[in-house]
């Protein structure tokens, strides 16, 4: 049985790309969300996420500063893995 992950921390150095963080307090009610891309050519991310950490707490840390904190809502695994986070 794969391990369950309760908390993720993405350091900038590991990221392939991170989309612009978006937050909207307007009438649409949209919350802050971001997609994080990770290199997965060797399948390392796939192995780490064998049990998808849906709902796990996640944060993006840049230069030691947490720039986003939220929860994992979706994951796509390919040569590039994409993790969707929502605040």
């Amino acid at each position: 049985m794969p391990d369950e992950i309760d908390r993720l921390q993405f350091a900038a150095a590991l990221l392939d790309d991170a989309a612009t963080l978006r937050a909207d307090a307007g009438s649409s009610g949209e919350g802050a969300n971001v997609s994080v891309s990770l290199r997965n050519g060797d399948g390392a991310v796939s192995q780490m996420f064998a049990l998808p950490p849906l709902g796990a707490a996640a944060e993006i840390v840049v230069d030691g500063v947490t720039v986003f904190a939220g929860k994992v809502t979706a994951i796509k695994l390919d040569r590039i893995a994409t993790v969707d986070l929502q605040a």
Binding site: S46, A50, P52, L54, G55, T73, A74, I75, L77, D84
Partner: protein
């Protein structure tokens, strides 16, 4: 033969010499309730099904049981077999007449046709005229029989054969596709379907999972009458709720009649959907993989090695490769529990009798158990309101109670609102 995507060639009341309005004459399966359709101008004979049936056990008018009827299988004005209900007097066309009965008999055994496989085959082969052998559904029949999954329902709308077949399959937790070798396949955690292909390192593959695919609290609405459920059942997976939060969904299953079958369907649904699932998309280097087949995967990009059932496929004619989609649930089977089971309120049963003098008519109102509806407020045809006495008797002037149909709106002393029809001759 018509395409499975074409509307089923259902007969309508326009096929008869006269009709009240143009309606599809239903096909009915299993133990099922459904509205009666006026067959004769006088309102004495009503049609229940566009085929012979095994019996009609109860009839209600506006939700209340009536007993002045007999049922029979007969031939209509076109020589077509129909199931009819004949009353001893004409019924008002606006009365909501509903019969509960046992629908179409199995053509071989003569028993009530309530196996999902038999109903799907009847829709495809006998109504749509598609050229499918019944034997293609043998595995589905065996699997549903082993779980005791029976269905009941009506086809009373202009739907396509594949829409009806998909609905029947979905109601018992199965998939239907004309592409599938067995046409229908039960989705069960313990599926033992043989493996048809292997997805290895050289096959392009990807996987995705989302929290929006999870369901850990489900309400099944079933035992439908005119699109409204008469029963519901709620189940949940507590550990999944604790881990992911409440992810609830309400699902209408119009072909289910029994709480026992609904329990089985809800349990399998939660066992699959209350835990994370990987939706896997992969290219298989052979063309004979079909929907419902099992394929194995052992690929570095995919998070787990194992097998899954193909739920969609597309064929690249240039390369002969097939792209397949399937779902793989992860982790141990979640424990599930029944939260509640509910039935719609039964119609309130009131007996109305009346006696007349030259100047007035006295109506006596009694409960089904015989107790008088003492002190009830009764409004006649929305015009005049009187109070019943301790014996449930209320009197209206004869000028208000002319021969014909009258409506009594009753508010009982304990606050119940009941509407009742009274015929004055």
């Amino acid at each position: 033969m018509s395409a499975l995507s074409a509307p089923l060639p259902m007969r309508t009341t326009a096929a008869w010499g006269g009709f009240s309005d143009v309606r599809i004459i239903p096909h009915r399966y299993g133990q099922v309730s459904g509205g009666l359709i006026q067959y004769d101008a006088g309102g004495r004979v009503w049609c229940w099904a566009d085929h012979a049936c095994l019996g009609i056990d109860a009839v209600t008018a506006d939700g209340l049981p009536v007993s002045n009827w007999q049922w029979r299988n007969d031939i209509d004005s076109n020589g077509h077999a129909v199931a009819l209900v004949e009353f001893d007097q004409g019924q008002a066309a606006r009365a909501n007449l509903v019969a509960t009965g046992r629908g179409k008999p199995h053509p071989v055994t003569g028993a009530v046709m309530d196996s999902p496989a038999d109903v799907v085959w009847d829709v495809l082969a006998n109504i749509a005229g598609a050229d499918y052998a019944r034997s293609r559904l043998d595995t589905f029949h065996k699997d549903t029989l082993a779980r005791g999954l029976a269905v009941g329902g009506s086809i009373d709308a202009a739907e396509s054969a594949q829409t009806v077949a998909r609905s029947i399959a979905a109601c018992v937790g199965a998939i239907f596709s004309a592409d599938a070798r067995g046409l229908c396949q039960l989705l069960a955690a313990d599926s033992t379907a043989p493996e048809r292909a292997n997805i290895g390192t050289n096959c392009p593959a990807s996987a995705q999972a989302g929290i929006d695919q999870l369901i850990n609290d489900v309400v099944l609405q079933f035992d439908m009458l005119d699109g409204s459920p008469r029963q519901s059942l709620r189940m949940r997976a507590p550990a999944s709720i604790q881990r992911y939060g409440l992810l609830a969904q309400s699902i209408a299953v119009p072909w289910l009649q029994s709480p026992r079958v609904a329990f089985d369907v809800a349990k399998r649904l939660l066992q699959q959907s209350a835990r994370p699932q990987w939706r896997i998309t992969a290219t298989v280097p052979r063309a004979d993989v079909r929907i419902g087949d099992t394929v194995t995967i052992d690929h570095p990009i995919c998070p787990l090695a194992g097998k899954f059932v193909v739920q969609a496929r597309s064929l690249d004619l240039a390369t002969g490769a097939v792209v397949v989609d399937g779902v793989c649930a992860i982790g141990a089977l979640p424990s599930v529990e029944l939260v509640s089971q509910a039935e719609s309120f039964a119609p309130q049963q009131i007996t109305v009798s009346s006696t007349a003098t030259a100047t007035a008519r006295t109506i006596t109102l009694t409960e089904s158990g015989g107790a008088p509806l003492a002190n009830a407020q009764v409004t006649l045809d929305g015009k005049i309101t009187r109070s019943a006495d301790q014996a449930g008797r209320v009197t209206f002037p004869a000028t208000y109670m002319t021969p014909g149909e009258h409506t009594l709106d009753i508010i009982t002393a304990d606050g119940r609102a009941i509407s009742q029809t009274l015929l004055v001759s």
